[in-house]
């Protein structure tokens, strides 16, 4: 009996020591970061970015997708046996992240849902805000200093194919949420964030150089966001809701295959330079990719011409986003640009150095700058 008691006490002491060690470790890790965090709140993925004192960046990504199940014996069993990440809300259970996609493909039925749709909160899903909050909290973590600046990405308010829709409410909810975690948060346009990360410049014929100037496009899952930027200031911002997810749905309708299968082909097999003509899904994806790229460049041409603007030098195009990561994507863009008349000269067209994390990195740079300004005051 006495031995049991001693063992128990020893065990408790060891556990306590372990906990303290973990805590110290955590504090040490936190100290390595410079305050100022960036969050890319995308329809398809949520990414966070922090800079370390050694100058490198730490990025985190989470697939913003869910598989909804009724809470019953079957789901209880599944949750108990598998190591799925889940959220329970009311009488429903949601498998979270990449697990959702693998589960749907394993079961062979059901559909993937997202807490966000077309770049904004998903109005079809009543609990979307609760779920998104939970996911964001787990990706972002806690502030590392009092009033730590946080920059989060938002789409442009000008949604060209949905007049009357704007991002105001979406932006307010996110700002309120991040502030409730202890951050001082501010929104930043998604395409502008990509441009900050890539920092293109416009060179004039007289040798003068305009830094942070160019055309930035973020091809995401729910939206395509565009910004024409001059010396770090956005001149034109617009977005379109017909993006990666829409391509999946269009190809699904055309081929009769579920979207979960289309996503797998898109991510694992698709090469836009070498479309397998015997694969109907790849052929469909190729057609809709070209349509999307062409539509965006026609729109920028229209928006740019509205105010009779003129750029003296050639404008570099910097592209990012998960949808732009398909091999051969940049060649498609170059092909479209060759055959379209644009109101400005195009310089280099390039994929961002880190297309998947470029928006979160750009947000982080703006967050770091906010922190530096905060300290100067």
């Amino acid at each position: 009996m006495e031995k049991d008691k001693n063992d128990k006490e020893l065990f408790m002491q060891e556990e306590k020591k372990k906990e303290e060690k973990d805590k110290q470790k955590e504090t040490k890790t936190e100290k390595k970061y410079i305050p100022g965090i960036g969050i890319d709140v995308g329809t398809a993925n949520v990414c966070s970015c922090r800079r370390k004192e050694d100058g490198t960046f730490d990025v985190k990504s989470h697939r913003n997708m869910l598989f909804e199940m009724e809470l019953n014996e079957f789901s209880d069993d599944l949750l108990e046996r598998g190591d799925y990440v889940y959220i329970k809300s009311g009488k429903k259970c949601y498998i979270v992240g990449a697990d959702a996609l693998s589960l749907v493909n394993a079961i062979g039925k059901g559909t993937i849902i997202r807490p966000m749709a077309n770049g904004l909160l998903n109005v079809e899903l009543k609990t979307s805000q609760e779920l998104l909050n939970k996911i964001l909290e787990a990706v972002v973590g806690k502030p590392i200093c009092e009033n730590e600046p946080l920059r989060f990405s938002v789409p442009a308010s000008n949604v060209v194919n949905k007049p009357g829709v704007n991002n105001l409410f979406h932006q307010m909810v996110l700002k309120e949420f991040f502030n409730s975690l202890g951050f001082i948060s501010q929104p930043i346009n998604e395409a502008l964030a990509n441009l900050y990360n890539e920092s293109p410049s416009m060179k004039l014929d007289n040798g003068e150089e305009y830094p942070l100037t160019g055309y930035s496009i973020s091809f995401g899952g729910g939206m395509v966001n565009s910004a024409i930027v001059l010396k770090g200031m956005s001149l034109i911002e617009f977005c379109s809701t017909s993006a990666g997810d829409q391509i999946d749905q269009n190809v699904s309708l055309a081929t009769g295959e579920p979207t979960s299968k289309i996503i797998v082909v898109k991510e694992k097999k698709l090469n836009l330079d070498k479309i397998d003509q015997n694969d109907r899904i790849q052929v469909g994806l190729g057609i809709y990719y070209s349509e999307m790229i062409s539509r965006i460049f026609k729109q920028i041409s229209k928006e740019f011409s509205k105010d009779s603007r003129e750029f003296e030098g050639a404008v570099d195009v910097v592209i990012c986003g998960g949808t732009a990561m398909a091999p051969g994507f940049i060649n498609r863009v170059k092909e479209v640009v060759k055959n379209i008349e644009l109101p400005f000269r195009v310089g280099e067209i390039r994929l961002s150095s880190n297309p998947f994390f470029s928006v979160s990195q750009g947000c982080c740079l703006r967050g770091l700058s906010d922190y530096s300004k905060m300290n100067k005051k």
Binding site: V85, S199, N354
Partner: protein, 112 residues
């Protein structure tokens, strides 16, 4: 003027309008607002059509930024209604960037 729907106060600007016309407005346009409140998210209209005493249509702001902000505050509380088996999410990766380029960009951003 303000109306109460599902315990939420909604501000509606309807200067000098009769009860019957108020009902007409709510049945035709207010529904959009109420639906938005019910869903707690979505395309909440910032404008609605209201009628003056002569039955003419006039357009006025109905939901102010402050009202939207108070709804946003309410929504933030909702995360406590859920239960999950995780504290942290996301796959971590280390990214190296050109230090000189980052410094140049930060200098430019500090001047904005």
């Amino acid at each position: 003027m303000s109306i109460i729907h599902n315990g939420k106060q909604i501000e509606v600007n309807i200067g000098g309008i009769s009860q019957s016309k108020l009902e007409r407005i709510l049945s035709e346009h207010g529904k959009l607002i109420l639906d938005g409140m019910d869903k707690k998210i979505g395309d909440i209209p910032k404008q609605t059509v209201v009628y003056d005493k002569n039955g003419r249509e006039t357009s006025q702001e109905t939901i102010s930024e402050e009202s939207l902000n108070s709804i946003a505050k309410e929504m933030v509380k909702d995360r406590h209604n859920t239960e999950s088996n995780f504290d942290s999410l996301g796959k971590r990766q280390k990214v190296k960037m050109d230090k000189e380029k980052v410094k140049k960009t930060l200098d430019l951003l500090n001047d904005l």
